[in-house]
């Protein structure tokens, strides 16, 4: 993906996990799904956010797993955890109650306001592809203080001017309807090409950083809307040897996700 010497042996998963982990600096609670978000949160816990508590959709708070979990409900997350809550308590009191600083989401499609589609490609009534749907994403978006989106694929079909279906609206869309969600919606989108950022309601996602070797034009060409670009586009600092060591040796030694 890039030809920088420092990152030649770094996989795409490792890169995304490291970059996402840095964004969690000083955060207290993160609502994370399995895979990259768990890796990022676990690494952040060891580096920039020692107080970080990962809350899992399944109801686990303060997990201390003996093995890297394979699902958000893996038995190893429960044994030795600080608390296991029912789903009404988890979604009602913790998430809707406003206790989550950062929610992690993925999507099949994202638009410039950070609205997400995880329902269908094509028409909802007769879809070309039926995707899994919201899960808790609608709630994570509406109730987290901010949302990070990790997208493995950065191309015009995924970064689209017009979603096929808006499963999970950001606060801009909600406000158009007269509702006032708690959070600011998507503030960071981390991709294989770089980082898009958005400060709050009324703002578009803006390119703020590219990975070494990636050009701004490359990112614009791979984005399905006319992408706003920050005055100064930073170059993402490549994963450090320390970050890579922690990720590979402590967080995912069995390489469950670091393929």
């Amino acid at each position: 993906m890039t030809d920088s010497t420092t990152t030649t042996d770094v996989t795409s998963s490792e890169l995304l996990a490291v970059v996402a982990s840095r964004e969690l600096a000083a955060r207290r609670t993160v609502f994370a799904g399995i895979g990259l978000p768990t890796l990022a949160a676990s690494l952040a816990h060891l580096t920039v956010a020692p107080q970080l508590e990962i809350v899992y959709e399944s109801g686990v708070c303060g997990a201390h797993p003996s093995h890297l979990p394979e699902t958000i409900a893996d038995a190893v997350l429960i044994t030795g955890a600080e608390a296991v809550l029912s789903m009404p308590a988890l979604f009602g009191y913790v998430l809707q109650g406003g206790h989550i600083d950062v929610g992690f989401l993925g999507a099949a499609q994202i638009d410039k306001w950070g609205n997400l589609n995880t329902s269908v490609i094509g028409d909802w009534d007769a879809p070309k592809v039926r995707l899994p749907g919201s899960g808790g994403a609608v709630e994570v978006m509406a109730n987290s203080r901010e949302v990070f989106v990790v997208m493995r694929r950065h191309d015009p079909r995924s970064f689209t001017e017009e979603l096929d279906f808006c499963t999970t609206p950001g606060p801009d869309r909600a406000r158009e309807e007269g509702l006032r969600p708690l959070g600011t919606g998507v503030t960071r989108v981390i991709t294989e090409l770089g980082i898009l950022a958005r400060a709050g309601v009324g703002e578009e996602l803006t390119l703020v950083a590219v990975h070494p070797g990636v050009t701004v034009d490359q990112v614009r060409a791979n984005t399905g809307w006319d992408l706003a670009v920050a005055d100064t586009v930073e170059t993402v600092r490549p994963p450090s040897p320390d970050e890579l060591r922690l990720l590979r040796e402590d967080v995912d030694p069995d390489r469950v996700y670091l393929r």
Binding site: P127, V138, E177
Partner: protein, 306 residues
């Protein structure tokens, strides 16, 4: 009660059947028995429609699905579900799409006999355009800015029967679950009838030594079925681990209708009951899912002296 009797008594053609268990304690054995008994035209209510739902769809049991996540966890796709939704193949499937908390709130409303339940979701979503169940109510109290405030609501769900899997219960139905407890209590209280499938039926004294562990009291339970390993391929905390290999395999099995039907023939129609399914998997297999001990420390409930 045997699983056969429970399904025969409490699940009828055309019923609305809730099967709950979020990754943990999925009532798979109950789903298989519904398939064996050839139920038709069911409305299945399940937050995470996963392998057991794909199997029931493939067996022709289900005409309507109410769900907030239709996928094979993070392991891949549900082949039959996608064929039904994308191509109406072999027949259409009516699908009511919610988000997780929308489903939870439907159970909460059902359990509490409420006409609706409010939640802070759906503002700006396309879901209300395809789901008439998502409506709005104006709060009778002023919002933070002093102006009238609107909030989305969902309607109650009151299944004809809810079936859940649990670690243990006593004979009268006091049901104890540890680890993830999900939305099981709400799904049971929302239903007209409730069937609890357990790893083991225990002596009254076991349950009564720890009444806070009872997630569902007997007055809400209509039948208790002992069915060890009935949650496979999901897991039962402290009993057996999740069969991740089977989850990964399911995308391949379900991709081809013939392969899927072959699977059903061998593992569901071809087994008389779950005990046969369990023994067909073999001891070596179960050994691979065995878990070690991590016992909770006891607490003192206290005894009045004198």
């Amino acid at each position: 009660m045997t699983m056969r009797e429970a399904v025969s008594s409490f699940v009828h053609d055309g019923d609305t059947v809730s099967l709950e268990g979020f990754t943990h304690l999925i009532p798979t054995a109950a789903g298989h028995e519904i398939i064996r008994q050839g139920r038709r035209d069911l409305t299945v209510v399940r937050m995470t429609a996963d392998i057991v739902v794909d199997q029931m769809l493939a067996a022709g049991c289900v005409s309507r699905l109410v769900s907030s996540f239709v996928g094979n966890s993070s392991a891949g796709s549900l082949g039959e579900l996608r064929r039904r939704v994308e191509k109406a193949d072999p027949e259409p499937l009516v699908f009511e799409e919610y988000s997780h908390y929308g489903m939870i709130c439907r159970y909460l409303a059902g359990a509490q006999r409420l006409p609706f339940y409010p939640l802070r979701s759906y503002g700006g979503s396309d879901l209300p355009s395809v789901n008439d169940g998502l409506r709005k109510v104006t709060s009778p109290y002023p919002g933070p800015d002093g102006e009238p405030e609107q909030v989305y609501v969902v309607p109650p769900v009151n299944p004809d029967v809810t079936i859940i899997h649990a670690q243990r219960a006593d004979r009268s139905g006091n049901t104890q679950i540890w680890g993830l407890t999900g939305v099981q209590a709400e799904a049971v209280y929302a239903a007209d009838k409730a069937v609890v499938v357990v790893e083991e039926i225990v002596e009254d004294e076991v349950v009564r030594s720890d009444p806070n562990r009872t997630v569902i009291p007997s007055h809400a339970v209509d039948a208790v079925v002992a069915c060890p390993r009935g949650a496979h391929p999901s897991f039962a905390q402290g009993y057996y681990d999740r069969d991740n290999a089977f989850y990964r395999a399911w995308s391949g099995i379900s991709k081809d209708p013939a392969t899927l039907q072959e699977w059903l023939k061998e593992w569901v129609y071809g087994t008389a009951d779950h005990a046969e399914y369990v023994s067909k998997l073999g001891e070596e297999f179960w050994d691979s899912l065995a878990v070690g001990e991590a016992m909770s420390l006891p607490v003192n409930y206290g005894r009045r002296l004198g």
